[in-house]
Symmetry: C2
Subunit: 200 residues, 2 copies
DNA sequence: GTCTATAATTCGATAGAC
DNA sequence: GTCTATCGAATTATAGAC
């Protein structure tokens, strides 16, 4: 968690003179985000960070450790408490788009989660520990919260996939306001609407 | 196209005694679907197909050629003509789920498309040549068809991603009927509903 | 802390015998 | 058509000098 902020202060662990670590993690996130796990080589990451490859090994043990440190993030909403129930869809969509456009961690996480078992488990963990609690507080019926959260995640990850990773032209070209206008009602329905039942 | 059917007849190209090719492509699809492009090695694919690795090179030239042949599919709906306009959402969702559960091609395509540039272009091509034409016929305003198709693709690929690839427990555990009941109205709205405008 | 050298694998691709 | 042998390159990871 302390490694996540590349800009701010060292905060918790005032380790001896290691902006180097932050530089490595930033370079790692970029490489993992653009190349995926296999093709993001330690050599290339070290070259981007202007250090020796062996330093990466020294700091993070192996490639898996480097990845784990690079994607240690907190996605939780900063303003979750008192939002109007009818706006939860729009607020969540905008928060998610903000996260995705600001940070490279999510792209890295998605790219690696798709082809790497450890990456997939990391995504599952984030869903379970960061998204589910929010859903449990917002959804009307706690028993339905996991399914509703999964539906929201499917639409949000799907948009990220088509827009930022696969870059399907129509999805990538949509203006943000238009995108929000389309997606917000979907998310709103997944969160608050009555269970549709098994038949249409 | 002729290589796709692993079960049926050779059809167009009655090449000399090559069930071998079909065996290779089946093994390749499985490996690409489970491991992604980089980790699906020619050696492993050949081992699965019980042949020599050099045969794969001989038949398909290189790894890219093998992948291109393995994911050469036709996803178009078999019954697209006269469906009630109010049921297009449900019909499309069910068709998509059928495709995904029957075939490994889609998983391979998604896994590779996320981490490989050529794979991403392949997905773009399929969207453009197979999904867009359907959208142009179904959507009310042809000008909005690309955006609407992209929104549908985002929800469908998102569900495939969470359910079949990342395997988020709530998404993977949803019963099919329940999933259709949730998704069909979303797709229906993306296809037929009036443009929501730029504000809520 | 930093870097050189290198071990140990593994991969895609080629050449050529049969 | 099929297989053996192998090249050349790239990778992670380690050992050790400075």
């Amino acid at each position: 968690m302390t490694e996540t902020d590349t800009t701010g202060s060292p905060a918790e662990t005032p380790r001896r003179s290691d902006a180097t670590r932050a530089t490595i993690l930033t370079a790692a996130r970029e490489r993992f985000a653009t190349d995926g796990y296999e093709r993001a080589t330690i050599r290339a990451i070290a070259r981007d960070a202007n250090i020796d490859p062996s330093m990466v090994m020294r700091y993070y043990g192996n490639k898996e450790g480097l990845f784990a440190a690079a994607v240690d993030v907190d996605l939780r909403l900063p303003v979750p408490e008192k939002v109007p129930k009818e706006e939860v869809g729009r607020i969540f969509v905008e928060h998610f788009l903000d996260l995705w456009e600001k940070n490279e961690v999510l792209t890295a996480l998605l790219r690696v989660g798709v082809t790497n078992a450890a990456g997939a488990e990391r995504v599952q963990g984030i869903f379970r520990e960061q998204l589910l609690p929010v859903a449990l507080r917002v959804c009307p019926d706690p028993e339905q919260a996991p399914a509703r959260a999964a539906l929201v995640a499917s639409q949000m990850l799907g948009i990220a996939l088509t827009r930022y990773v696969l870059r399907l032209p129509p999805a990538a070209d949509l203006h943000r306001e238009e995108l929000v206008a389309w997606l917000a009602p979907t998310v709103q329905r997944y969160v608050t609407a009555a269970h549709p039942g098994r038949t249409r």
